[in-house]
Amino acid sequence: MDFAIQVEDLTKVYRENSTEVVAVNGVSLSIQRGEVVGIMGPSGSGKTTLLSMFGCILKPTAGSIKIYGEEVTNLSDKELPFVRRKYFGFIFQGFNLFQPLSALENVRLPLEIKGMSKKEAGALSINLLEKVNLKERAYFLPRNLSGGEKQRVAIARALAGNPLIILADEPTGNLDHKSGELVVKTLRELVMINNASAVIVTHDSRIFHSLDRVFYMEDGKIRA
């Protein structure tokens, strides 16, 4: 079986002075290549913390994480950026686009970080914007795009460099129903085309039908 993500007994404890908060408590799960899974749960249930640990943004307190069979749990801060660069694309509820950069430049930036030449990265970025139907808005600044368009730029950015895993945090959270559907549909299609996987943290029950599996989280644990 080709697993994109495997986590074993994953735990994250936040400590503030003498107070301890267990955000994720002994989560074990696997996500296969090509799967689009959702993580649902109430606020404060640990969904975002779990997603951050999947994406090697946050280090677990205990447990292990394997990405395509590669143990990444104990990698150093210097090694982790290269793991993220190799495997992940991220989509955030707040889009997190650079306001001074055009849609094209926002998509091109991660490709340049990955070492691609400006010319090559530019051509690829136009291609990605075309896939999310935003080619004609390539030179628009984010402030001149609608919420749905911004999120589609964020999807194009997440897909830049063909990541094997897309991690999305409430990608439809700031969008109306129609825009939200279009975003998830686009994401789903592009994940399938790239034979990638996607983990979507969401409260939005309207996108359930686009997901292969859904995990429900409560108090830091996955409920059956």
Binding site: F92, Q93, P100, L101, D169, N174
Partner: protein, 375 residues
């Protein structure tokens, strides 16, 4: 990453203008302080620097050109007799009081030189010749003195230490560090004006070295043969005079403190604005880190912002400085700007902006991942 920094700067126009204003202010102020300081130092040793001669002999423990004590002028015979000395000349620097045309008095610095050789005399004449002070109660006044002494023409009489001297020439470029007007006259007149020099005394002996001898050799010879005097090369005495005004009077320290304050103000303004910009884009920087950018990639953006601000701010500051030279000229102030000063100030503005960017770098290094996921 440089292009991202450029886009950020042009996107946040108001903030960028504030940053630039900070850099321009600091750069212009640093230029002004260094330029005025160098101008003053140049002025303090200008007569030494423009006087032909390799060696300066002064009374023991003389600290500068303007306030040296007299010593017996007969020592010139020992100087002329020393091996390696080609020629020697006496020079008097003393102080006096000049009566103003409209009443009142001004203190003046009097230079008495040999009109036959012109050594120690004016080097650039607007009207007349340095030889014109010979054989009479004559004086050459620098045109920069007009602000203090009022307008004067050739043929005017001025009373200095109760002796009427006729103005026979007007010199240029002889501005005094002490701000007192400089009056040139013959050695004999200066000696007999009744100042503190006294008859049979001189204040300096300036010697030139014969071909085939080094300054050092001749200085050693003179030090062995002369008593109660100090012997310097021209450069040494020029430097000694500058150092006296820089260190012993505290002038240098006050300039240094102003430069330091300008540097710190610039650094704080740039630091504050770049820090605000970093905070504003913290989520985006975090996103870049999430998609694989290293801290170094982000630092490149922040430091590029600092470099761009430093470079643009420096150029504008330099233009302001060059334009202000005319103002300094108009108020008779010597302002010196040299290539090495321009390079030094550029280096200082780079350091100022780059160190300001360090405040932000710390923030980026410790971005809270949770920040990325806040809608």
């Amino acid at each position: 990453m440089f292009s991202v920094a450029l886009k950020i700067i042009f996107y946040d126009k108001v903030r960028s203008l504030i940053t630039l204003a900070g850099v321009v202010f600091a750069v212009a102020l640093i230029f002004a302080q260094i330029g005025i300081y160098l101008g003053l130092m140049e002025t303090s040793s200008t007569i030494i620097d423009h006087t032909n001669g390799d060696i300066w002999i002064t009374s023991r423990n003389s600290k500068n050109f303007d306030f040296s004590q007299p010593f017996p002028e007969r020592k010139i015979n020992q100087v002329l007799a020393a091996e390696g000395v080609k020629d020697a000349e006496k020079l008097i620097v003393t102080w006096g009081v000049i009566k103003q045309k409209q009443g009142g008095t001004e203190q003046v610095e009097i230079i008495g030189y040999n009109p036959d050789t012109g050594i120690g005399g004016p080097w650039k004449m607007k009207t007349g010749h340095f030889r014109d002070v010979k054989n009479g109660n004559y004086a050459i006044v620098d045109e920069s003195s007009m602000r203090r002494l009022g307008r004067f023409e050739i043929g005017d009489y001025r009373e200095i230490l109760n002796r009427r001297l006729r103005v026979v020439g007007i010199s240029e470029e002889v501005k005094s560090f002490t701000t007192a007007p400089i009056i040139f006259t013959s050695y004999k007149i200066a000696q007999n004006l009744g100042g503190y020099v006294g008859p049979d005394n001189t204040v300096f002996i300036i010697a030139s070295v014969e071909d085939g001898y080094s300054d050092k050799e001749v200085i050693n010879t003179l030090r062995r043969s002369l008593s109660n005097v100090d012997v310097y090369t021209k450069d040494e005495f020029s430097r000694k005079t500058r150092l006296y005004w820089t260190i012993e009077t505290g002038v240098g320290l006050s300039f240094l403190i102003t430069i330091l304050i300008s540097f710190l103000i610039g650094m704080l303004i740039v630091g504050q604005t770049i820090y605000n910009s970093t905070i504003e884009y913290l989520k985006e920087f975090g996103t870049l880190k999430a998609i694989g950018a290293t801290n170094l990639n982000i630092y490149q953006i922040i430091f590029s912002e600092a470099l761009i601000n430093a470079s643009i701010g420096y150029v504008i500051g330099l233009i302001f400085t060059l334009l202000s030279i005319k103002i300094y000229d108009a108020i008779e102030m010597v302002f010196t700007i040299k290539l090495w000063v321009a390079l030094l100030v550029f280096f200082l503005s780079l350091i100022m902006c780059l160190s300001a960017a360090f405040f932000s770098v710390r923030k980026v290094r410790k971005i809270d991942p949770a920040l990325l996921f806040r809608g």
